[in-house]
Amino acid sequence: MRGTNLKRWLLQNVGFGTALLLLAVLYISYNMMHPRGFSSAVAVQNANETAAIAFVAMAQTLPVLLGGLDLSVGAVMTLTSCIASHLVSGSPAQILLGMVLTLLSGTAFGLMNGLIVVYGRIQPIIATLATGAVAVGLALLVRPKPGGDVDGDLNWALTNSVFDFADTYGLADGGNAWWLRPIANVPVPVILVALIAILVWVPFRRSVTGRTVYAIGSAEGPAFMSGLPIHRAKIAAFTMGGFFAACGGLYLAIQTSSGNADIQQAGAYTLNSIAAVVLGGTSLLGGIGSAIGSIVGAMILRVISFYFRILDIDPLLQPLIEGVVLLVAVSFGAFRTLRVKNKLDLFR
């Protein structure tokens, strides 16, 4: 019975399974080639570079599951990182408040996206193209020049291993605390991404609203006929997107100890988030995929860039190779059209 369940799961999640396998192969061979492979230091460095894009990829997943795209996720990340660069400092209570306000601002921005899409009846792609520009504009107002003073302890604690985190806040008990030992060498960003995924994404997926998001992307007509809360689900999807993007922005601010209203960075994160979502097995037509897959997709994108460092490849080749990998990955999705029997269906 277990065997058949596993088989079914694999068949139903071909895209995600493939992504997971690809990531495992890429990352293990990367570590074997790396002079200090399989060490906590390498893992920490890799995790730091991956966390923000992983969050932004999660943000992109929900609009894509609906069958749309959110072109504002990178901009919301940039905006929230600029907000965080002002707010996340001072006493512990102030820091905590600053973090909460940062996340709230991103969530509110996502909510606005959702309201515009649902009640303005504007396609997500164009609505978020506009709101994305607004977000970058706001970011420039908030932080005209790069800078800011994010709490230094927090920066150290969140960008190293769990042991360092515990040590910073005096919880480590010399490395002997019972809870610490099994995870002492795990990078903190890994824990953060996993926590957000487990505490926010997993419950959402198991709610009626979350299921409605999948149903809309899969077949909106039947979803409506089945009496599902379509408007609520769309608004929720964009709101959650804003929240995840804000997680990315907050992390980026803490990691760099500053904020920077970098327009190009915002655009690059948005495009990479779409690539990560697709690599992670989510269908651009909607209805199939998950935010967990997008995290895996984001990791694949980053691992590819790590190779450039250890193999000493000209970094100028990086976009070319990333493009080819993405093209090959999305080609798998095109096999669907070979099974379509009514050619008119190809245009619907």
């Binding site: 198991r206 009626v208 299921r211 149903a215 899969s218 077949a219």
Partner: protein, 507 residues
């Protein structure tokens, strides 16, 4: 009828001024199975769409258990206990069977969907419809059409209906499943559920229902108990309307020898579940009608001939050339010279936002180009010719085609295809939703084209048109031709009877 569970009082519904339902009074009582009969466009589906909250009536009142109600959404109707199974399935292909069965109100633990309870619930309901072979964890898209339909039934059952509406719910089922559904409906009847059953299969209606209601032209004609009327009388009730349109005179019926060799010959055409071996032929100079109720494969037949479907089996001979065109571009090429006026002009026939002239030229750019460039003078001439030939009334040829009336839009589609000077013209319900005057122009044009020696295959959901226009009619039922009629033998009775696949003479 105070004991009615659902009651309509003076319900009317119009679409763009065209009557779909007018002043309908209708009621059904608990513990009954109510058949709803009527030909295409009689208002059956509007009736149930209003009941299930998909459409809002323009006038009138619905009462549920004696109290006036309104259903702004399908959800509201569901909550009130009215559950509808539509022809187009309401399942979400990428979700699992268990997800689908409990889609809008799943069992929950701590506010989250309890997937284990959901699977158990799905197993119970699937067992009730004797589909233990369906794994609740599989995705709906992995199931065959007949299994999906059973899942749909299980989903409807799970909503504990007071009124269950089945719209062609048995069309894709195997005979074993049909029996299961029969038993189930009988069970529900004993539990006091009112079922509304729409089917085009008379024997099913006979076997299952206790009350029959006939609709015609948006009006409720009569409701009577089963057995009160013969099949012949029922068919009469379903027809009996004024002929609105005048048809051009038909030439005398030719014998097979006079017709000559067919230009289009189809043998054993099969595609997916929709076409199950269609045989027919069309000769030069004749109009052959395709009859039958909606969805019996007529549309797919035309698309298959036009090269729009993949993996079509069977033999097609066009002139001396064997084989089905591989694409619409191939179908219209010099070898076959075929044209298709599609069912839905708005999505398949026209590029609505583009100018009238571009739409007219869309199929015949080869004729008006020199090398890779369009010759403006030739194009202008071609457009003027097309407009004149069909007497299309327009302001300017550069206006978007969507500014035209429905009738003129349809003329643009027809004119577009006449520009390639086709030998074979396939028409898919070309007069749907257009005014009587334009209809008559189209009838006249069809006859002229036939007289010029073209072969015309004409699907219409309006029997009067088939009788008035066609030299011969092939009636489709379940993806095959069940009856061929010609000349004066084409009558409303014979067409309606054939489309229900019953034999009136025998009844």
């Amino acid at each position: 009828m105070s004991d009615a569970i659902v009651e309509y009082r003076g319900i009317s519904k119009f679409f763009a001024g065209i009557r779909a339902l007018e002043n309908v009074d209708f009621a059904c009582s608990p513990g009954s199975i109510h058949a709803i009969l009527g030909e295409n466009g009689a208002g059956k589906s509007t009736l149930i769409k209003i009941m299930s909250g998909v459409l809002q009536p323009d006038a009138g009142e619905i009462r549920l258990e004696g109290k006036p109600v309104t259903f702004p959404t399908p959800d509201a109707a569901n909550r009130a206990g009215i559950v509808c199974m539509f022809q187009e399935l309401s399942l979400i292909p990428d979700l699992s069977v268990a997800d689908n069965i409990s889609i809008s109100d799943p069992p929950r633990r701590f506010g989250l969907i309890d997937s284990r309870a959901q699977i158990a619930r799905a197993e119970d309901l699937l067992a009730r419809v004797r589909c233990e072979d369906v794994d609740p964890r599989s995705l709906v898209r992995e199931l065959s059409l007949s299994r999906r339909q059973m899942v749909e039934i299980a989903k409807a059952l799970g909503r504990k209906p007071k009124v269950l509406i089945l719209d062609e719910a048995t069309s894709a089922l195997t005979s074993r499943d049909v029996q299961t559904v029969y038993d189930l409906l009988a069970e529900l009847k004993d539990e006091g559920v009112a079922s509304l059953f729409i089917s085009h299969r008379m024997h099913e209606v006979d076997a299952l229902c206790d009350t029959l209601a006939v609709f015609r032209n948006g009006q409720h004609i009569e409701t009577f108990a089963k057995g009160e009327k013969s099949e012949r009388e029922i068919v009469h009730l379903m027809i009996g309307r004024d002929v609105e349109a005048q048809f051009p005179p038909k030439p005398p019926l030719k014998s097979p020898e006079e017709r000559g060799k067919p230009l289009l010959k189809v043998q054993g055409l099969k595609w997916e579940t929709k076409l199950n071996g269609v045989d027919l032929s069309v000769c030069r100079g004749e109009i052959v009608g395709l009859g039958g109720l909606d969805g019996q494969g007529q549309k797919e037949l035309l698309l298959a001939l036009f090269g729009a479907l993949r993996d079509v089996d069977g033999e097609v001979t066009i002139g001396n050339r064997k084989g089905i065109p591989s694409s619409p571009a191939g179908a219209k090429s010099a070898a076959t010279r075929m044209a298709l006026v599609p069912e839905d002009r708005k999505t398949e026939g026209l590029m609505l936002g583009m100018p009238i002239s571009d739409n007219l030229l869309a199929a015949s750019y080869g004729k008006i180009s020199r090398g890779p460039f369009i010759d403006p003078a030739l194009a202008r001439h071609a457009v003027e010719d097309g407009l004149k030939k069909l007497q299309i009334k327009i302001g300017s040829a550069s206006d978007p085609v969507m500014t035209l009336s429905g009738g003129n839009q349809q003329k643009v589609v027809i004119a577009k295809w006449l520009m390639i000077d086709p030998d074979i013209i396939l028409l898919n319900d070309p007069t749907r939703g257009i005014d009587v005057g334009t209809k008559q122009e189209i009838y006249r044009l069809m006859r002229e084209l036939a007289n010029e020696g073209k072969a015309i295959l004409f699907y219409s959901s309006d029997y009067a048109e088939l009788i008035g226009c066609c030299d011969r009619v092939s009636v489709l039922y379940g993806g095959r031709v069940v009856s061929e009629q010609e000349g004066d033998d084409i009558t409303e009775e014979s067409l309606v009877a054939a489309s229900l696949n019953i034999d009136v003479e025998a009844a």
